[in-house]
């Protein structure tokens, strides 16, 4: 599997992560090494595998849809880096013309 600098840049964008040029180059080598290992999955014959058939936890079910007490807005925003009146504060997302 060959990975390019462009691949890593695209992935970084998808991941919302920034890397220096040196880190990007390092990631090319690292991803290649990891993917070489991951290639082991191609050794297994999976032509007869049905992904939809359940194996365990067949007893799982959703709980009844009932209204119960949950966290308050104040409790939820207590961990936010910036909040006001029970709402999360973010920079302007829609700019004026």
């Amino acid at each position: 599997m060959s990975i390019t600098i462009e691949d890593v840049k695209k992935l970084a964008k998808l991941s919302r992560l920034e890397f220096t040029e040196a880190e990007t180059a390092e990631f090319v080598a690292e991803l290649e090494a990891t993917l070489a290992q991951v290639d082991a999955i191609n050794k297994v014959d999976v032509s007869n595998v049905d992904l939809l058939e359940k194996t365990i936890n067949a007893d799982t079910e959703l709980r009844a849809d009932e209204i119960k007490q949950s966290l308050t807005a104040a409790e939820i925003v207590a961990n936010a880096p910036d909040a006001q009146d029970g709402a999360f504060l973010v920079p302007v997302t829609v700019a004026e013309e």
Binding site: V38, A40, I56
Partner: protein, 480 residues
């Protein structure tokens, strides 16, 4: 320190007979924590709260009230388990200041059973790692040899129990994160069947593989802890409704008549000489104790690690997408707009290994690669599951080493992530197959470092694992 060498089950007897109080135990634990703080096992401690709660339990016990199965016993939680009002950092800079707004089900079950939660344990950041060197708050040291790693990612949870800072702890295990540190530190750790313990309130790494489990100094202690935390939960639909047995009920029944499976794939050339010898001796002991040893085959075992890295990284990339510097966690200081805020906060907040998994996860999920990697890995997972099911039809449990080597030196593998990933080759397949497995000590290597053996069971048959493990531990008590 009069009481810290007692096991959890022994200390409960002493508490119940009035020979020691919970407050005395909390004090001793904190003296020990102070004395051994260089191990860096804990991220936060709660002395005042613990003393208050211990006092309440002591008073209730004195009044003759039922104080629960763990009434008054000091325990520690891994730092990815929410406990109302305490910091839950996942050993990440991102969550440095995060305070739990609610309590995880496993923690509230411990609390309801009378346990006194005294601290949160250090770990690899977001539970990603096999050495506990990936913590934003520094590496944990192995109490057996402080120049070595304790294993990861529940390194702090294993270390705190081995160092006698508490009587039991909870860890989480996605690919070996309870069993590998248990093995390296010489304690007992179980990864229960997927769905045996609720994951509600436990910060997710790979949701289809994560499972909570206890780390303890004895097998019986471990069974007692699982008795308390196992069971269905309205808040986690993957927590199974399969009835929870009393894991202590048949624990002393011995192994006579049981079948233990050995797969040659677990005894590869990667195994160090001392580990191989210890395992062969354990198998020999089981034979002499009346178990039948049968040979089984797990032909796809060596592909499990590849499956694991695809599935766990894909789920991790998705789970960690919520860390954006808006809802919780640390926000970067300088940014141009809201998208830049995401980029900068994530870049500054996450450590290197976490970024590595997010990148790999997004790669295998991205357009053009999804079928070749993620879908393919899910199919191979099915093959591995079926192989385990077939193997476990021929026996009551499987035996294997927990790790190929004993604890390695701090820094020894930190520059080579592929070598680090290989540490998990014997533990990862268990998560891929969703079956339960316990790691328990089975001797020491030439340098006096603990060796761990792993017993792997059928879905929801933790009781047999405890029975088989307890037989070995009871017969080898004097070797400790």
């Amino acid at each position: 320190m009069k009481y810290l060498d007692y096991s959890l089950t022994e200390i409960i007897d002493l508490l119940n007979s009035g020979q020691v109080t919970s407050q005395e135990l909390v004090r001793e634990c904190f003296d020990r924590i102070k004395e051994t703080q260089d191990l860096n096992a804990l991220n936060s401690t709660y002395f005042d709260e613990a003393m208050k709660r211990a006092g309440e339990i002591d008073a209730a016990r004195a009044r003759g009230e039922n104080v629960g199965a763990l009434g008054g016993v000091p325990v520690v939680l891994k730092d990815n388990i929410n406990y109302l009002g305490t910091r839950t950092t996942c050993a990440s800079k991102f969550l440095e200041n995060f305070v739990s707004p609610y309590t995880a089900t496993c923690a509230s079950k411990l609390h309801d059973a009378g346990a006194v939660i005294i601290a949160k344990a250090n770990m690899d950041e977001f539970a990603m790692g096999s050495s506990n060197e990936n913590s934003a708050f520094g590496a944990v040291r192995n109490p057996v040899d402080t120049s070595r790693v304790p294993g990861g990612s529940s390194g702090g949870s294993a270390c705190t129990v081995a160092a006698r800072q508490c009587f039991a702890s909870l860890g989480t295990d996605t690919g070996g994160s309870i069993r590998e540190p248990a093995s390296f530190c010489g304690v007992v750790g179980i990864k229960p069947t997927y769905g045996r313990v609720s994951r509600y309130g436990v910060v997710a790494f790979a949701s289809s593989l994560d499972q909570v489990g206890p780390l303890t100094r004895t097998v019986k202690d471990n069974a007692l802890m699982l008795n308390v935390i196992a069971g269905a939960d309205d808040m986690d639909m993957t927590a199974s409704k399969v009835a929870v047995p009393d894991y202590l009920a048949d624990i002393d029944k011995g192994v006579k008549g049981l079948k233990i499976g050995v797969a040659k794939q677990f005894f590869s050339d990667k195994l160090s000489g001392d580990v191989r010898t210890a395992l062969e001796q354990a198998i020999e002991w089981y034979k002499e104790a009346g178990a039948e040893i049968v040979t089984v085959d797990l032909p796809s075992l060596d592909t499990a690690l590849a499956v694991y890295y695809v599935i766990s990284s894909a789920e991790a990339a998705s789970n960690l997408a919520r860390f954006d510097g808006v809802k919780y966690g640390v926000r970067a200081e300088n940014y141009a707009d809201v998208v830049d805020l995401y980029f900068k906060s994530r870049t500054q907040g996450f450590g290197k290994e976490v970024k590595r998994r997010i990148m790999l996860g997004n790669y295998v999920l991205s357009s053009g690669y999804y079928d070749a990697f993620y879908r393919k890995a899910k199919r191979v997972q099915k093959v591995i599951r079926n192989e385990f099911s077939e193997a476990l039809k021929m026996c009551d449990c499987l035996i294997s080493p927990t790790t190929a080597t004993t604890a390695f030196k701090l820094g020894e593998k930190s520059g080579d992530h592929v070598a680090m990933y290989l540490t998990d080759i014997f533990t990862v397949p268990v998560n891929i197959a969703s079956v339960p497995a316990i790691s328990l000590p089975c001797g020491k290597d030439g340098q006096g470092l603990p060796i761990g053996m792993q017993l792997i069971g059928k879905h929801f048959d933790e009781a047999t694992l405890y029975r088989v493990a307890n037989a070995f531990e009871t017969a080898h008590k004097e070797d400790k």
